[in-house]
């Protein structure tokens, strides 16, 4: 046996030699048979509930447990009934375990799909203290009180008891497995694949399709959830042509591997069909290993872009409901066959079969061939054919079973009405097969009823671009699967203009479907299970019917039928059939429930990929980042940017000390702040000026070359969208700055205006945010400092470069740069920009040159303090509900031109006499604190919403004013200067008196900026 690891996604585990006997299985594996697609020559150690066992490479946890005579693997959700496996695949509702330990503990893993690896540790779940003795099994005794929907009818009195007593008890009992609550140590990848034809499922139809398309040269992806290709052929004894089924699979897969245009992906579940041919698939790269190899993912989420898709997902056998049909040892007949043929295991050495169709008899035939005693085949059909060499009880039904922790006896009602007890340790049940229509429902397609096979088949065109072949389409025989797989592949490629023809199909089994629908045994008062995980019984469906929860959706929601981790793959059909019976309608009239993605549950880690922890979002670093790291910076996230909040100097123990120092230094001398994060948009073209006149509410057409202007941008609804400054570098060339937060939205908006509203304007836009390192140099000594940086031919005097001037200059001996005389702080200030690769050097140069002025670097906190002191609105004020009028800029909105938002800002509700105005606040008692988020009340009025007068948007401690100060919006605030109002913040226990003041706390006349 070779186990190859993922190389190009085309690995499979194929046994190189098939064992002939079970001789090496040792004494513990008492249920191990001979043969199978496992390596009986070597052994694997594993443990379940602390007990050590051995299995073989190729085993699943379920097959290995059965081999060790462990039938009891789980407890059910509600009644804590003892349970074993029902299936041998991903449809399993019962045998869910906690796999692995520590941070890798994985709840609710199906034992039927967990590949055995050396050292595997599994634990049963939802039981206490042990699987055999579960206290909560008491629920089973009280099941009569715990019927469908019982909780809707009780727990209402006394009123307080629901949340204090009842619900905590219910919640404690809830859930199946548990999370470790530690961070998942494994990595996950996400990727993208493209193909002409995606073949979902690698059974006979899928292999046939992939071979057809592969030979035609199409780009093909073949995916199967199993670790072996072959689908049902792995569990059957059919031959194909001259070969055994397994040999045909091996030969076919080998040919597919040899084709460079075919990607064979085993352990890959295609689990969702999304619009326009996009499918999600999960490849389990490392789940069969103790831990993933270094750097490799546990799983990969593939998004597959396919031009055509062929669903070859096979069919799922359905059980029959009868009393106590849920005991460990009772499983689907096909699962029993799989375990025997593929894994060389039987759940017991004496078994029985209960069926309503010919296919069930195959299990008897195969098990007898494997040396297992089949006590009887019980067939509901009176005219059942004799197929297996054992006792046939035609027209008989299993009416009850016994065996507390595992099946011991079944009770059979014979055709003549007499009853007989049969001893057996396992019972294979077949109620027929349901085509696996799951994925055809993902776009809300409805399956249609096929009377001939008594099952739903996919509706036409359920998913655009997807067709269905083989058993998934109701073509159950192997020959039909091979035939339809190839034919549908030819058709799909034909749609794409790739002409090809069907491959030569080998001879294969072609048995007709011979079934007499039979859903549940009518007998005494016991419970017959439909949804085994959620403990939904036939009685519950009857009760739902009685209480008029009759629509399929009501049935599902009231009883929880089909809401377990298998989405009802083995149970929905039975529930539906019984409801149909009760209402007297046909099954198709009764309806279908819809399956939702994903086909089988997908780990959150897989969906999340590598976007975790620090890698959740990419980081954006500013040009001075490295210097900041070296100089005591504390960083803060602003969108994806990391900006410096403040720089701590030795001895500073509280952030306020650092911020106060930075503010004082700027106002006293000079400071530097990295403002690269502000959005920059290069705007060029002969219509650039009229364009700006349109996107800004205030006038821009007449801005002089070499000048910068503040601009207020409105949304079409008249509320402020963003603000910033725009500089006119030349007649047809502007540079706009946006706020850091809105850079992307503003750019998008301007492209909308350009392309959708004024498509003939000659304007070109491109973002230059990152191309330039831009620093604010602010403070009374900023000019003196910059004179040491800017090359001497550029006149920086107040006359030569006045307030709001801009110019392309050179610095440090000839490096191209841009200089803007703009100020956010209210001080004499500039912003200087150089190509980003020189940003680090320039920052260091400025700090060096500024030493004589005691220059400081300052962060966003100091920036914020100074802009509040100066009364500049920022993000906290531009909250999306604020107008120009609210900001005190109502008159800026030009009525002489058409600009975005100007018309709508004239609406009544936005121009009320007592509209909010932005004002400043200062505490009456200087020790009091102004709190952002506090609400404002007129003095003497009640403190409630009705009397709310506004709110504080921004607040800080001003080291210049030695007081806490704030900005905010107050009704009619412009006319309330000097008024004392109450600032209340009950959520922070604050109620102080503040004075309404001019928002420009510092230099309201604007002398400094023009100095």
């Amino acid at each position: 046996m070779t186990y190859t690891n993922r190389a190009d996604g085309s690995q499979i585990n194929q046994p190189t030699a098939r064992a002939q006997t079970g001789a090496h299985s040792g004494k513990t594996q008492v249920n191990r048979l001979a043969g199978g697609q496992i390596d009986q020559q070597s052994s694997i150690n594993f443990s379940f509930d602390g007990k050590q066992y051995q299995g073989h490479p190729g085993d699943t946890l379920a097959s290995a447990l059965l081999a060790n005579n462990v039938r009891l693997m789980a407890r059910s959700f509600k009644y804590h009934r003892p349970r074993g496996v029902l299936t041998s695949d991903s449809a399993e509702p019962n045998a869910l375990v906690e796999l692995r330990t520590g941070a890798r503990q994985e709840p609710n893993t199906r034992a039927t799909t967990a590949e055995l690896f050396d050292g595997l540790v599994a634990k049963s779940q939802n039981r206490s203290p042990s699987l055999k003795y579960d206290f909560m099994a008491i629920n089973d005794r009280f099941s009569n009180f715990l019927t469908a929907g019982f909780y809707y009818k009780t727990f209402m009195w006394p009123v307080s008891f629901w949340e204090k007593i009842y619900e905590p008890i219910i919640r404690k009992a809830a859930g199946l497995g548990s999370l470790s609550l530690e961070e998942d140590p494994d990595e996950y990848d996400k990727g993208f694949l493209h193909c002409d034809l995606l073949v979902v499922g690698g059974g006979p139809s899928g292999l046939s399709a992939a071979l057809t398309a592969g030979r035609a040269g199409a780009q093909v992806i073949l995916a199967d959830e199993d670790y072996l290709f072959g689908g049902r052929l792995n569990g059957e004894t059919f031959g194909i042509g001259e070969q055994s089924g397994q040999d045909w699979v091996a030969a076919t897969v080998a040919e597919l591997h040899s084709l460079p245009n075919v990607r064979c992906m085993s352990r890959t579940t295609v689990n969702g069909a999304y619009d326009h041919g996009i499918y999600s698939a999960v490849e389990r790269v490392s789940d069969h290993l103790p831990v993933p190899p270094e750097g490799k993912p546990r799983q990969i989420l593939w998004r597959i872009y396919s031009k055509r898709t062929l669903l070859c997902a096979g069919a799922i056998e359905r059980p029959i409901a009868f009393e106590n049909n849920d005991r460990p040892g009772i499983m689907l007949a096909s699962a029993m066959r799989d375990y025997a043929n593929r894994w060389a295991v039987t759940a017991a050495h004496k078994v029985a079969i209960f069926t309503n169709n010919d296919d069930g008899h195959r299990t008897a035939v195969d098990l007898i061939a494997k040396g297992v005693k089949v006590a009887a085949v019980i067939d509901t059909r009176a005219d059942a054919p004799r197929i297996a060499d054992c006792e046939l009880l035609a027209g008989a039904q299993v009416i009850d079973t016994s065996g507390r922790l595992g099946l011991k006896f079944i009770k059979v009602r014979l055709a003549d009405g007499s009853e007989r007890s049969i001893e057996c340790g396992a019972l294979g049940v077949s109620g027929g097969w349901n085509p696996n229509v799951h994925m055809t429902c993902h776009q809300r397609g409805r399956p249609i009823w096929n009377e001939q096979i008594s099952a739903f088949v996919p509706g036409e065109d359920s998913i655009p671009g997807m067709t269905v072949a083989g058993a998934a389409n109701g073509d159950f025989s192997t020959a039909a699967a091979l035939e339809t797989g190839s034919a549908q592949a030819v058709a799909a490629l034909g749609d794409l203009g790739i002409k090809t023809s069907k491959i030569d199909l080998p001879q294969a089994e072609d048995a007709p479907v011979n079934i007499q629908p039979f859903w549940h045994v009518r007998h005494g008062k016991g419970r017959a299970w439909l949804d085994q995980q959620n403990d939904v019984t036939v009685k519950d469906v009857k009760l739902a019917h009685q209480e008029n929860y009759r629509s399929v959706e009501h049935l599902k929601r009231y009883t929880t039928l089909g809401m377990a981790t298998d989405q009802g793959k083995t149970s929905n059909m039975g529930g539906l059939a019984i409801m149909a019976e009760l209402t007297g309608q046909s099954i198709p009239e009764t309806g279908t429930t819809i399956f939702r993605p994903p086909y089988s549950p997908v780990a959150m880690g897989t969906w999340g990929g590598r976007a975790r922890g620090k890698d959740f979002h990419p980081v954006r670093e500013t040009p001075s980042h490295k210097w900041a790291l070296e100089n005591g910076a504390s960083f803060v996230e602003v969108g994806n940017w990391l900006r410096v909040q403040w720089f701590s100097q030795p001895g500073e123990t509280h952030w306020r000390e650092s911020v106060d120092r930075e503010v004082r230094a700027v106002r006293a001398s000079v400071g530097v702040c990295d403002v690269t994060t502000l959005g920059k948009i290069d705007i060029q073209g002969t219509d650039a000026a009229p364009f700006l006149n349109t996107v800004y509410a205030n006038a821009f057409a007449k801005l002089a070359v070499g000048k910068t202007r503040y601009g207020l941008m409105l949304r079409e609804d008249g509320n402020a969208m963003d603000d910033g400054t725009t500089a006119r570098l030349s007649e047809h060339h502007f540079v706009m700055t946006t706020t850091t937060a809105n850079a992307v939205e503003v750019y998008r908006h301007m492209e909308f205006v350009r392309q959708c509203l004024f498509p003939d304007m000659d304007v070109q836009l491109i973002s230059t945010t990152e191309a330039w390192a831009q620093y604010a140099v602010a403070g009374p000594n900023s000019r003196k400092l910059l004179q040491k940086i800017v090359d001497p031919e550029f006149d920086l005097s107040n006359e030569g470069f006045e307030f709001m001037a801009c110019r392309e200059i050179t610095v440090c001996g000839g490096l191209r740069a841009r200089l803007f005389r703009i100020s956010f702080s209210g001080e004499l200030a500039y912003e200087i920009a150089v190509p980003t690769r020189y940003g680090d050097a320039l920052f260091r140069r400025i700090m060096e040159a500024g030493k004589e002025f005691d220059v400081v670097a300052y962060g966003t906190e100091a920036l914020g303090v100074m802009r509040i002191e100066k009364g500049h609105a920022a993000g906290n004020e531009l909250n999306g509900t604020i107008t120009a009028l609210n900001l005190g800029m109502g008159r800026m909105v030009s009525k002489k031109k058409d600009s975005i938002g100007s018309t709508m800002s004239e609406r009544e509700g936005m121009n009320l006499p007592d509209a909010l105005n932005m004002v400043g606040f200062k505490p009456v008692n200087s020790a009091d604190k102004v709190t952002a988020g506090g609400h404002l009340m007129t003095k003497g009025t009640p403190v409630d919403a009705e009397h709310d007068q506004g709110y504080v948007t921004s607040a800080c401690y001003s080291p210049i004013l030695n007081s806490s100060i704030g900005l905010g919006f107050l009704k009619d605030g412009a006319n309330r200067m000097g008024e004392i109002v109450s600032l209340v913040s009950p959520v922070t226990n604050l109620n102080v008196d503040v004075e309404v003041v001019n928002p420009q706390f510092v230099d309201p006349e604007g002398v400094r900026v023009r100095a």
Partner: protein
Amino acid sequence: MGYSGFRVIKEALTGHKGWKPAWRDPEPQSAYDYIIIGGGGHGLATAYYLAKEFGKKRIAVLEKGWLGGGNVGRNTTIIRSNYLLDGNEPFYEYSMKLWEGLEQELNYNAMVSQRGILNLIHTDPQRDAFTRRGNAMILNGADAELLSVEQIKKEYPFLNFNDARFPIKGGLAQRRGGTVRHDAVAWGYARAADRLGVDLIQNCEVTGFRIENGVCKGVETSRGYIGANKVASCVAGSSPRVMSHAGIRLPIETTVMQAFVTEGLKPIMPGVITFGAGHFYCSQSDKGGLVFGGDPDGYNSYAQRGNLPTVEDVCESGMALIPALGRARMLRMWGGVMDMSMDGSPIIDKTEIGGLYFNGGWCYGGFKATPASGMCYAHLLATDTPHKYAAAYRFDRFRRGYVIDEKGMGPSPSLH
């Protein structure tokens, strides 16, 4: 026939033979005083309160599919009254008070569970905004609490406090927020309304209105014409379709919002949490599944399903916030059709057509509003005046400039 623990025991001992249908399946009559279009949560609640609080008779609810099959049956079951704006907060707080007495009112256990909702804070501006909101809540009589990181760690120790890209800096909690078993809300109202004589008519799709001289006289349905004195649309995501039959254009677009649930897990999540730096919110159901979601897909859709980018975005956010979720498996995803209004707030109002009323625009927040929406709509229908808590929810607020824009996103429905 009342529901009670005693009754459950009695029925259990007598073979459950006594349980009666939760509601009748009446044939539609030729005319009613009130026709409510839409048998979702809001429609059923409206019918119930119209009968119960206003004593009205001859009421029918017309449902095109099955009762409770709209968004009341496909949401993430959260209730809260943590709104900011004056037009909204009193309404949602009123709704919260109605939730608090709902089960006794309806004699149906909808499992109102006030386990708290916590909005996480990751930035200083967010803290300022949440402070303002918390204050607005308290000033409106609701409860709110700002939590420190240490307090949050105690309740949610498994959140990412180690290497988060956007560290948690605090949170705004509403302890009275929580979850309710969504289907049970619909069933509880349906059963209670039925018991007051309301005709609940399933599989009855409204295909048109009969309007004469500007007055609505009744509705054309898949089961024939039904006359009515007053017709009340209450169809959430189908609002634009239904109202178009009356020639009315709405300030509403219909988009898809996805939601997700994991396999059942032993309890970890005490209440509801929302991530402030990504698109993710989550709670744990009484069955053990983690129920979560994020933002709408962002495009118009009536398809009741979404696409992968949103699925991945939500799960990435979930993993960023809760690294321990890695090995929990998502079991199912689904999509609801959302009536996204232009300012993110609802409309409960008369229309320009006499006798025709409208309730919609709930965006993806309609579930928590169910009781108050029903009560306020019933008030409007019964009295022709708006209920005091729904006075702001008028059509003309857009034209007149009184929008109620909680998020400040402007007239882009998919952004609310």
